[in-house]
């Protein structure tokens, strides 16, 4: 009987995105999150006395050039070497693009799979055959799985591959292959990588995406870690997920339809935050707060969104290690604007004017040239989605329209208007 550990998409030294620093934000607790999560992986391997560790690609972040990251990796892998734990590594798209992986001399307990053709390593003592192939280029469009050898008889066959199979939302379709392609090899376990959400694609035989070991932005919310596999008498007996992340991302939706006052809303939000914190098992939490529902205090929330955001941050700070990533004010009016404003009032005309406004980037940039000036000064990293007014994301434009509406109504109707 033995165990092995399967992880992928480490993305060492990739920074956490979207967390703006503010007073009382737990900056220190969140340093080097990917490194500490990787440390947790090493600790888990040693603690569980695993026979070997499988890393299914994307060890590094593609554009990251600091060789220190590689040295850190070697240092930690050396700890496994002292414990006689072998490591099998199949490079992914990011590794292919990385400068670091090119010059790195790996310790002798690591086997790096060839990028030219599938390779097989036999571990006779355990009766295990590990098959794998890495990426030689970033955008790999070939079906690698099809070239993998058929399962060796009398061995427990494991396949390592960085792929999103037939495609997963938010992930590039590299090394595309179908589930049937991989199942056809007859392996007992497919250790896949590339998809950052854990998924047991198949259980008989096992085809597993372990997910990444540390969420790096709000779209990677929830528990993250590695998959621990137990083998008994040449068969896979159990497949378990183990948490490794040092920071938990959480999307916290709070329905405020029952809150008649801001104080009640604050209370409701605090309870929701506490619930999220208790779900994180003592880890620091990076939280996005999304306020929803037909709320009687909709207008008030929009009018005071800036001071309220500060209050929510203070609530998060009061709970300890919680970082408020963003507050999304997505409540709706209990009464529609048409009814609120009447049919032909100047305010209703104003709202219609906003709704008629052409929010396409090219038109808006022409109407308000200052936006273009700001855009030209922004770093390119921020303009990946197409600039400040992305045309592709319709919902963003809608939300801009809503924000502008609420901003003007709140300011024009002023303090006296709200109940």
């Amino acid at each position: 009987m033995f165990t092995f550990l399967h992880a992928a998409d480490i993305h060492l030294d990739s920074p956490l995105r979207g967390l703006e620093a503010y007073a009382d934000a737990p900056v220190d607790q969140l340093r080097q999150a990917t490194r500490r999560a990787f440390d947790n992986l090493i600790d888990l391997a040693i603690e569980e006395r695993v026979a070997f560790v499988l890393l299914s690609g994307d060890l590094y972040d593609g554009e990251w050039k600091d060789y220190n990251t590689g040295l850190f990796f070697i240092d930690r892998i050396s700890r496994l070497r002292k414990e006689n734990i072998r490591v099998f590594l199949a490079s992914g798209n990011h590794d292919a693009a990385s400068q670091i992986s090119k010059g790195l001399r790996l310790p002798d307990n690591v086997h790096l799979f060839s990028t030219k053709q599938p390779e097989t390593v036999l571990i006779e003592a355990l009766g295990v055959a590990v098959h794998g192939q890495g990426y030689h280029t970033r955008a790999l469009a070939e079906n690698l799985a099809r070239n993998y050898p058929q399962a060796l008889p009398d061995y427990l066959n494991i396949g390592l591959l960085h792929t999103s199979l037939t495609g997963r939302e938010g992930h590039e379709p590299y090394a595309p292959c179908s589930l049937d392609d991989v199942l056809a090899r007859g392996y007992a376990y497919w250790a896949l990588g590339h998809v950052h959400t854990r998924e047991e694609v198949s259980r008989s035989p096992w085809v597993v995406f372990p997910g990444n070991i540390q969420g790096r932005h709000i779209h990677e919310a929830g528990a993250k870690g590695a998959t621990l596999v137990r083998v008994e008498e040449g068969r896979i007996a159990a497949v378990e997920h183990r948490d490794l992340d040092v920071l938990r991302w959480a999307m916290c939706r709070v329905d405020l339809s029952a809150c008649a006052t801001v104080d009640m809303a604050l209370d409701t939000v605090r309870q929701a935050m506490e619930a999220e914190q208790s779900r994180a098992d003592g880890r620091p939490v990076a939280l996005r707060l999304q306020l929803t529902g037909e709320s009687p205090i909709h207008a008030e929330l929009h009018r005071d969104s800036a001071p309220l955001t500060e209050e929510f941050r203070a609530l998060a700070a009061g709970l300890g290690e919680m970082w408020l990533e963003k507050v999304v004010f997505a409540t709706r009016r209990p009464v529609t604007l048409n009814e609120s404003l009447g049919a032909e009032t100047p305010m209703a005309d104003l709202v219609r004017a906003i709704e008629r406004l052409d929010f396409r980037p090219e038109s808006l940039l022409e109407l308000v040239p200052e936006i273009g000036i700001l855009q030209s000064k922004l770093p390119p990293e921020l303009l990946h989605g197409g600039g400040l007014i992305p045309a592709s994301q319709a919902s963003r434009a809608d939300s801009l329209c809503e924000e502008v509406k609420e901003m003007l109504l709140a300011r024009l109707l002023g303090q006296g208007g709200s109940r």
């Binding site: 030294d13 920074p15 956490l16 979207g18 967390l19 703006e20 620093a21 900056v27 340093r31 490194r35 990251w64 050039k65 600091d66 060789y67 220190n68 590689g70 040295l71 850190f72 240092d75 400068q99 670091i100 010059g103 790195l104 008649a260 006052t261 009464v335 009814e339 609120s340 404003l341 009447g342 032909e344 009032t345 100047p346 305010m347 005309d349 104003l350 004017a353 906003i354 406004l357 109407l367 308000v368 936006i371 700001l374 000064k377 922004l378 770093p379 990293e381 921020l382 400040l388 007014i389 502008v404 901003m407 003007l408 300011r411 024009l412 109707l413 002023g414 208007g417 709200s418 109940r419």
Partner: protein, 1167 residues
């Protein structure tokens, strides 16, 4: 829409307060604390819902708060609803059921309170802010119009806020703006990332150079090691050469000494010790022989042996001597006590039985044993006796009670059945307060009857009694209404005809007057005239032609035509006349036409009048027919009707009266029924009462029931009391009889038990009395005496046994003393036993002292003999030790021992020196065997040694060591550099910081976009609003501004400022222009008010009017200006409802002097 009514059901300090509003101007006046603001809040709460937190719940709790009222739409629809303080379902209909907000939307199209307030509400504060805003906008027309149109009094601030917030975030060339700063900080972190990043090439270069340096260092170290080893070898040999020489010398001396017996180190000391011990031993042997000769004299035979042999017997007797003496004294005393006991026993026995002696007393022992049984029987006897006596006493008392009850029963009157009376009474009671009811009803009927008669007298057109009135067949209300409508239609038609007639006459008069005017100003040629003259001319031409061309004799026709003139002249004249007429027709065409039109009009009017008259005549006929028909409807009731309208009123009254009469008749019938009912109850009750001979039914004057009921109830209660008493007595008697039976039974039981007891008693105490009867009380004493008798007998027996024992002991003691004296000291045989024993004891003590002395001497003699043997053994041991020493020294004689010891010491010294030398050599050789060292030393020339060593040292110190150090330093440096490249996270942390900055920039940039877009849209909308509304609204504003400033301004104009933007300016009556900046603040307030009122008035033209609600807007205006403002409001109130809330009486007084076209109502809130 307008507010028809506002009801403050429960709100603030108000309870059930209603304000009846409606169209026109309303002034709600409440001095301070009178609730003006509360009412305003209530109005808002009613229309838009309660705020979450309210201070108006100090009198009515939150869940009790309720405001309501009624809204009226322009088309006449009404909506009454209430509002309570709830989050959901807060709107209630008049029936108390919840209404949805949709129901309200039909009346109040604006659900947002703020929007409604800004459009249709205006407070003093708004006015001030609006005035300030106009100043801040410098009269910019678009903003002024938009802010007044939307009711926003701080538009300028909003616009400026959007701009300044955006600017605080970012400017193109700024550095201190938030986004600019964050961008700069981000660039900084990017630089840190670049600087802190390590390239793999750098690392590998450094790693390679380190490896090379390490290899070089290793080579140098090896060379250094070899030379150092050689130098150390030479140094060692140089140091050890003298020791090698010494070692050889010592070895030679040992060889010279030859064979030596090596003695142990302590040999000499051992020998001297043995010799000293032998000498001491000889002296001790002599001393001991002397002591033994002395001891033999001390042993001989003892004179006290016989005493010592009987030692134990003497001691025993001596101890028993005390008891012996005591027994001799006690014996007579005990005998006396025994006799006394026996005589006491005899006394006790006599008290029980005198017929038996003490010797026979044992026959009584069984009786004495039954003590417990006798006691129990005695106790039981007492209980039985008491029980019997108590039972008998009870029985006597019960019988006495029965006698008393029988007496009382005999005295009660005879029983009677009261069920009938009871029922009659209950029925009468059930009828309730029938007397009062009947009286009240009778009075009511009287009143109603009187009212009806009065009403009938008052009803004109008809006279008669009520019955006749009820049977009248009156026409239906609808019939009368129908005729009313018909008559009205006739009258209207009549009026229309009359009106039309007047109009036609008026127009005809006008036309005739026109004709007359034309006629007076000279004849006007007409077409007809021309036609006439032309026909006359043509006639003349015909005559002339006939005469002139055809030569016809005209026979007088010409004379007729010429009228005295010859035909040609006549013709010419006609000709000229025709031309003249034709010319005039042409020249005076206008006049001709007017004249013709007037004449045509006159014609048509005359015709129309004729038609109208015909219609009037027809109408009159129809009306007469209708009137006849109308009257016919009233014939059956013999009434000559007035007009339908009057008859309608009459009929309503008559129908109402008829209803009342019918109601009266119903009441009368009910009264009669009730009276009959009462009479029936009364007779039933009287019948029952008569059954009791002693009761005569009470007479009641007014036929009232109540006295009879009272009488019946009194009788009933008396009968009931008697029956109650009887049943109580009977019950008691039955009870007593039962108790008597029980007591008898108990008495028999007791008697039986007593007989039983007597039998048992006799059995138990027979022996005790010896034939005599024993009373239970006496038995205890007898038993006590018997027991005392037995006790005394027992004591006497025990005393007897003791006396026997003591006599035996005395005898044995004396025999023993005598026998011992005979054996040991026959001299004292004749003395008393006590003396003998004392003498024997003295003898024994002397014998014991003598024995102790002899034993001590014998012990010492035994020890000295043992010592002689020990000394012999010690001598043998010492002699063998001396022999052993001689053997060790190589079998020499004891005298030779000393010389042998000296040779051994010399040998030992030489061996030690050699060992010391070799130790130094071994230490110096550093692990090399001595033989090899000797070999090496032999190969080396001692003289060349120092030179060789110096050469090696120089090579090491000056060549190899510096080189080694240099490489070591180099390696250290490389290692340090490499350690710096340790996989640290400096670059990663900078990247993390960068990510945080990016998040911030993203948020701020999005905010910037929002602000910019918002500002853009708002500006556009303001401009659009201006272009649509400027002309009409400014025209109205100008007029209001003139009025509000009491003519100090002529009005308003738009002008352009320096930037070419349109701005507002006031114009003085002399056409001078005044910029808003130059106006007083009061004037600017008036300007804002004018703008608001104008916007509102303009708005009403296109929209459903809404109530305009003003909160004390005239606080700061003087009387004249207030009056002007009120006047405008009163005019505005003709178009929409206006409600002005004020604290100031002055405003109310001003308003009351106005003549409001659409009505003015003042509502006072104060007490």
């Amino acid at each position: 829409m307008r507010i028809a009514r506002l009801e403050l059901k429960a709100f603030g300090r108000f309870t059930e307060r209603t304000l009846e509003l409606g169209p026109g101007l309303h002034i709600v006046h409440g001095p301070n604390e009178a609730g003006k603001s509360t009412t305003l809040r209530a109005l808002k709460a009613w229309l838009f819902g309660f705020p979450e937190r309210t201070h108006d719940n100090f009198l009515h709790a939150n869940d009790q708060l309720l405001v309501g009222g009624c809204l009226q739409a322009e088309d006449g629809r009404e909506l009454a609803f209430y509002r309570r303080k709830k989050r959901k379902g807060d709107i209630l209909g008049p029936d108390g059921n919840p209404l949805t907000a949709d129901a309200l939307a039909g009346f109040l199209p604006i659900a947002e309170q703020a929007v409604f307030e800004s459009l249709y509400g205006l407070s003093h504060e708004d006015l001030i802010r609006g005035g300030e805003d106009i100043l801040a906008q410098k009269g910019e027309v678009g903003q002024a119009l938009f802010s007044a149109g939307a009711g926003i009094s701080s538009l300028r601030g909003v616009l400026a806020g959007l701009e300044s917030e955006a600017e605080a975030l970012f400017t193109a060339r700024g550095t201190k703006r938030e986004i600019n700063e964050a961008l700069a900080a981000y660039k900084e972190t990017q630089k840190i990332v670049r600087d802190a990043s390590l390239s793999s090439r750098d690392w590998h270069e450094l790693n390679n150079s380190l490896t090379e340096a390490q290899a070089a260092l290793q080579a140098i170290e090896e060379q250094h090691g070899a030379k150092d080893r050689r130098r150390r070898q030479l140094e060692r040999i140089r140091q050890l050469l003298p020791q090698l020489a010494l070692r050889n010398a010592l070895r030679q001396q040992l060889a010279d000494l030859g064979e030596v017996v090596e003695l142990p180190a302590d040999f000499s000391a051992r020998r001297q010790e043995v010799e000293r011990a032998l000498h001491t031993l000889a002296r001790r042997e002599t001393d001991l022989a002397g002591k033994l000769a002395q001891r033999e004299k001390m042993t001989a035979v003892s004179p006290y042996q016989a005493v010592l042999d009987a030692e134990n017997a003497v001691e025993d007797l001596h101890q028993r001597l005390g008891s012996y003496n005591t027994a001799g004294k006690d014996l007579p005393e005990r005998e006396g006590m025994r006799i006394s006991c026996k005589s006491e026993a005899s006394e006790f026995l006599k008290m029980v039985r005198q017929d038996i002696s003490l010797e026979q007393v044992e026959s009584l022992r069984p009786v004495s044993g039954r003590r417990k049984i006798i006691g129990d029987l005695a106790a039981r006897h007492e209980g039985l006796q008491q029980g019997l006596a108590q039972t008998e006493k009870n029985l006597r008392e019960i019988q006495r009670e029965i006698t008393i009850i029988d007496g009382e029963l005999a005295m009660l009157p005879e029983a009677k059945d009261a069920a009938g009376l009871n029922q009659a009474c209950r029925l009468a009671q059930k009828a309730g307060a029938i007397d009062e009811d009947l009286t009240a009803r009778a009075r009511l009927v009287e009143d109603k009857k009187r009212d009806c008669l009065v009403a009938m007298d008052r009803l004109t057109l008809w006279s008669g009694g009520p019955e006749g009135f009820l049977s009248l067949s009156l026409p239906l209300l609808e019939t009368v209404q129908k005729y009313e409508t018909a008559f009205q239609a006739h009258d209207e038609r009549q009026r229309d005809i009359q009106k039309e007639r007047e109009r036609l006459h008026k127009e005809l008069d006008e036309a005739l007057a026109g004709i007359r005017q034309l006629e007076t100003s000279g004849s006007t040629p007409t077409e007809e005239e021309l036609v006439l003259i032309r026909s006359q001319r043509d006639r003349g031409w015909e005559l002339l032609r006939r005469q002139w061309l055809e030569g016809e004799d005209l026979a007088g026709e010409d004379a007729a035509f010429g009228q005295g003139l010859p035909l040609p002249e006549a013709y010419e004249k006609k000709m000229a006349l025709a031309d003249t007429v034709a010319d005039r027709l042409r020249y005076e065409a206008d006049r001709v036409q007017v004249f013709a039109a007037l004449r045509t009009k006159k014609q048509s009017l005359t015709e129309a009048l004729a038609e109208l008259e015909t219609a009037a005549a027809q109408n009159d006929l129809a009306r007469a027919a209708l009137d006849t028909e109308w009257r016919s409807h009233w014939n059956p009731c013999a009434i000559i009707p007035l007009s339908p309208k009057e008859m309608l009123a009459w009929l309503v009254k008559a129908v109402a009266l008829r209803g009342r009469i019918e109601e009266l008749q119903t009441d009368e019938r009910e009264l009669a029924r009730k009276s009959a009912e009462r009479q029936e109850l009364k007779s039933a009750l009287s019948r029952e009462l008569a059954l009791y001979s002693e009761e005569q039914p009470a007479e009641t004057g007014k036929g009232e029931l109540h006295p009879l009921i009272l009488q019946g109830e009194t009788l009933l209660s008396r009968l009931t009391a008697i029956e109650d008493k009887r049943s109580r007595l009977l019950e008691r008697k039955a009870n007593s009889l039962k108790n008597a039976r029980l007591a008898e039974g108990k008495k028999a039981d007791f008697s039986e038990e007593l007989a039983d007891w007597r039998r048992q008693w006799q059995e138990v105490v027979a022996d005790l009395g010896g034939g005599r009867d024993i009373h239970p009380g006496e038995a205890g004493d007898l038993l006590d005496n018997l027991r005392s008798c037995f006790t005394k007998l027992k004591e006497a027996e025990e005393l007897r046994k003791r006396i026997d024992g003591m006599a035996r002991d005395i005898r044995l003691f004396e025999e023993a003393a005598l026998s011992l004296a005979r054996k040991i000291s026959p001299a004292c045989v004749d003395q008393p036993a006590g003396e003998i024993v004392a003498q024997l004891k003295t003898l024994l003590n002397q014998a014991r002292t003598d024995r102790t002395l002899r034993e001590e001497h014998l012990e010492k003699e035994k020890q000295e003999a043992k010592e002689v043997i020990l000394l012999g053994e010690e001598r043998k041991d010492l002699e063998s030790q001396l022999a052993e020493l001689c053997r060790l020294a190589g079998k020499v004689l004891p005298g030779e021992l000393e010389a042998t010891e000296k040779r051994s010491a010399q040998f030992r010294s030489l061996v030690a020196s050699l060992a010391q030398t070799e130790k130094i050599l071994i230490e110096g050789a550093g692990g090399i065997p001595l033989a090899e060292l000797e070999g090496q030393a032999a190969k080396i020339d001692p003289d060349a040694l120092p030179e060789e060593i110096a050469r090696l040292s120089q090579e090491i110190e000056q060549e190899l060591a510096p080189e080694s150090k240099r490489f070591s330093v180099l390696i250290g440096e490389k290692r340090h550099q490499l350690r710096q490249m340790d996989g640290n996270a400096r670059a990663a942390e900078a990247a993390e910081q960068g990510a945080r900055l990016l998040a911030k920039i993203k948020r701020l940039a999005e905010r910037y976009v929002q602000l910019k877009v918002a500002a853009h849209v708002l500006k556009n909308e303001i401009e659009r609003f201006r272009s649509e509304n400027q002309t009409p609204v400014l025209a109205i504003t100008s007029r209001y501004f003139h009025d509000l400033t009491l003519g100090s301004f002529a009005g308003l104009l738009t002008d352009e400022n320096d930037q070419g933007e349109p701005v507002l300016v006031g114009t003085r009556p002399n056409n001078a222009r005044v910029l808003v900046e130059r106006m007083s603040s009061g004037t600017r307030d008036q300007l804002y008010l004018a703008l608001r009122l104008a916007s509102l008035e303009w708005r009403i033209t296109g929209h459903e009017p809404m109530p305009f609600i003003l909160d004390d807007i005239l606080v700061n205006a003087d009387d004249a200006r207030s009056r002007a403002a009120l006047k405008i409001l009163a005019e505005l109130a003709a178009k929409t409802q206006v409600i002005l809330f004020t604290h100031h009486r002055r405003i109310v007084d001003e308003a009351l002097q106005l003549t409001a076209p659409s009505g003015l109502q003042v509502h006072e809130l104060g007490a």
